[in-house]
Subunit: 217 residues, 2 copies
């Protein structure tokens, strides 16, 4: 079972504020801003580079948003809308507030992942005013479909960042969950066409990881 | 003294990868991506909404980047470049990797803050290839100067988010550090002109906080 932060109950007394009662749109926006704070409690399998602890999904989202403008030059499609990519990455994990982070190599957990995340998306984006709900939901759907050039590049970065963490922590997570190079290669497929230069790098590191004995062949 | 993550030593064997040795530009970018991971270890005084722990600067940066597109409609200047605002917010705290987070009401710590952060900016952005170093340094300088419409709006959100955390955790941090309403009002000044609607809301909440006894007058 993926972990969820649902058990963490917050003590928000938003009803107590005058101005938001008078302005339902603003009230919804504030409720959403407070709700998304819970993403900081969703732990991923990835560990930090200094190995001190597991990474949470909020700081992961920040990291890959930063990678967008660092690595934009490696996008196969040079005409992509980077703002669109960044927006997608900032909101791509919000569903985990309810659905938890599903480990990418957890076959059992992944079976009902789509369903769990759709229900989560309904509730979480549903906190927003209609126009913003539609906008964020549409961004999330686009990310999940992996079809638009922006979604492809966003997904590539979402794969590369934890890969770098795994490699530069001597494969600690790979070993803990007994992941092999074929599984990693499969997982990295979205990088291939979206960012060929990053794909070449990933391939080199996978080869070295096997050679160094930190990743099973 | 502000806290720093400098003591946390990472074990990165980046020299070991062939492809980066052949490509100094890419090597610098990868080193930067690994280095900024340390921002996840810089703790702020702000606590999470569920009060379970202090917030770190990476997840704070994510939160306010998300607030940009939620609250764009409250920007006094309706013509601002939102991508520029988001980029600024994503990188605005990177200097804290060396300089630590200086608590906004810590008068002693703030005296040498500018100098400490400038040295940090030199080192951290200096890890990047020249063009990207110039771009990110320029974004950070712009944020710090608080002069452009984009920098003003970015600074407003950077103030509003921790304020919401303080208010919706019943002023726990205000009380712990004996902060009064005058100090909070001063701190919130950048919101006034950049986002008048948010300023009105902040003012209401400050009044209520004093009335509820969670903030000293």
């Amino acid at each position: 079972m993926p972990e969820s932060s649902k058990a963490v109950e917050t003590a928000i007394d938003i009803e107590n504020t005058l101005i938001t009662d008078e302005n339902p749109r603003f009230k919804k926006q504030i409720e959403f801003v407070l709700e998304v704070d819970k993403l900081k409690q969703v732990l991923r399998r990835t560990i930090l580079i200094d190995r001190s602890r597991r990474e949470n999904s909020a700081e992961h989202s920040w990291h890959i948003a930063l990678m967008v403008f660092l690595f934009a030059e490696y996008s196969a499609d040079t005409g992509i809308d980077l703002m669109h990519v960044i927006k997608m990455l900032i909101i791509h994990d919000l569903v985990e507030i309810d659905a938890g982070d599903t480990y990418c190599y957890d076959e059992a957990g992944r079976q009902d992942q789509v369903q769990r995340e759709k229900i989560a998306a309904e509730r979480i984006f549903g906190l927003l005013p209609d126009d913003q709900r539609r906008e964020l939901r549409s961004l999330w759907d686009e990310f999940e479909r992996k079809e638009s050039p922006e979604a492809k590049f966003a997904n590539a970065l979402d794969r590369v960042q934890p890969f770098l963490h795994n490699y530069f922590t001597d494969g600690q997570t790979w070993q803990e969950y007994q992941i092999n190079s074929r599984q990693v290669l499969d997982r990295m497929q979205p990088v291939k066409n979206a960012a060929p230069a990053l794909w070449a790098y990933v391939n080199t590191l996978i080869g070295e990881a096997v050679e160094r004995g930190i990743l099973d062949k």
